[in-house]
Amino acid sequence: MQRKLKFQSEADPEWARRVSDRPGCEGLFSCLQCGACSGTCPLSIYMDFSPRRIIALVREGFRADALSSKTIWLCASCYSCTVHCPRQIHITDVMYSLKREAIGYRLYPARFPVPVLAQEFCKLVRRRGRSSEFWLVLRMALRSNPFILFKMARTGWDLARTGRLSLRRERIKDMDSLSHHLAPREVA
């Protein structure tokens, strides 16, 4: 992707302010841009924008760049940035908040397996109350890149022969109460 210098008119500072009102995102505007987050992030070398840059983009209001980035999906939620941030910004929660908005507006990179996994995971839990590893991975692969199933075959066999591959589709008994709780309302 080619990076371009931005026009001020592309920014939406109002959006930035709304983000900073969300749970976990309060510290957004106190960021020093010190880069401790990017330095400690084990995944920053794979990201299109480092965590520090994502924070910079968000607080200036460059919504589309932040929401369509791969960065937010590569965040593995290890919270290393959060415990290292000198301003105690909950960067992991900022990432979560961006992920939710990207899902809500379908701005995530197409066929990128991470958001696909997240969606399939939620579907499974919403329907059955629990996740079942085998079925989850199968659904994720079929929806993103079925060829990875070949790569996974060997690992699957290793798990099967050590009794670690359960084909059971887990389900909780009291699904009624759970689905009542989880009834979707807002996406905000």
Partner: protein, 301 residues
């Protein structure tokens, strides 16, 4: 019910992490600490649910906390680092954000938030450290360790912002417990670096290389095995080692154990009950280290 710990296994301990459950139950039984599984628990939501729907993510946890409360447990033991973090994070959110607290209250109907937040969500490592302690472990040793040196890998979520299981930057409790059991541990500088979690399944190459770094550093520090506290860390390091070996041209064949397997064995649990046969990497080493024959010979310890 009082006195017993409520036990929240989470989905992984019923799947790829089944050895963790087996060894943990055996270990806690030996120590006289009953773990009672919560009836009809649901998934914690892991890292995925928060990425889709915040309200529901918190609600999933609050239902589990409510189950624990109704069954009369004050402490809930969550061995999976993701479950542990998510349950604690839900409590933190319900307390800090009144809007979320109100929504949870409305959805649960009968869930008093104070009650839900009073439940102590605990990691088994922390339970063993504070409620049992290295001293009692040392006194109750039944078998003497004759295996190699171990790198204690704490992973990320167990020691991060919502946690009290150990220090965030330099956790030592697993080292202390294993040393009390006579197991030499090495100074492992990547002990809180992330294994990538589910990235090995989604962006495979990225996840595999993270795990390469973890193995490489453990080997460099002279470790013969890695001890873990999380089913996902164990799975990633164990199941992808063959692939890492092939890609890196480095001869890794390291057992990836659960700390509960080592402690359980040292305290005299039945070797067959610790899930040791479920190892994928370093199987020969595991067999040697935990062999029955040598156990009996050295049972005088």
């Amino acid at each position: 019910m009082s006195g017993a710990y409520g036990y929240f296994p989470g989905c992984s301990l019923k799947g790829a992490g089944v050895a963790y459950e087996e060894s943990l139950l055996a270990l806690f039984r030996l120590l006289g600490l009953p773990l009672a599984e919560l009836e009809d628990w649901n998934c914690c939501g892991a890292t995925s649910y928060m990425s889709i729907d915040e309200r529901s993510a918190i609600l999933l946890s609050s239902r589990n906390l409510l189950l624990a409360h109704k069954a009369g447990y004050r402490d809930v033991v969550a061995p999976c680092s993701a479950c542990y973090l998510v349950l604690r994070k839900a409590q933190d959110y319900m307390e800090r954000y009144p809007r979320i607290g109100k929504e949870v209250h409305a959805a649960l109907g009968d869930g008093d938030l104070k009650v839900l937040n009073a439940i102590r969500v605990r990691h088994p490592l922390e339970v063993l450290y504070t409620d049992v302690g290295p001293g009692r472990i040392r006194q109750s040793l039944v078998r003497q360790w004759h295996g190699g040196r171990v790198a204690c890998y704490y992973g990320c979520q167990m020691v991060r912002p919502y946690a009290e299981a150990d220090r965030a930057h330099d956790p030592m409790r697993m080292d202390e417990l294993l040393r009390a059991a006579g197991v030499p541990t090495v100074d492992y500088s990547l002990k809180t670096k992330c294994c990538g979690g589910s990235l090995t399944g989604t962006t495979h190459e990225v996840g595999v290389r993270l795990n390469y770094a973890l193995l490489r550093e453990a080997a460099r520090k002279g470790a013969d095995a890695i001890a873990t506290v999380c089913p996902l860390c164990q799975y990633n390091l164990d199941a992808y080692q063959r692939e890492i070996r092939r890609a890196s041209h480095e001869p890794f064949d390291m057992p990836i154990l659960y700390f509960s397997q080592i402690l359980g064995w040292a305290l005299g649990a039945d070797t067959g009950a610790l899930g040791l046969r479920r190892a994928i990497s370093g199987r020969k080493t595991v067999q040697q280290w935990f062999s029955e024959r040598r156990v009996e010979k050295e049972a005088y310890a």
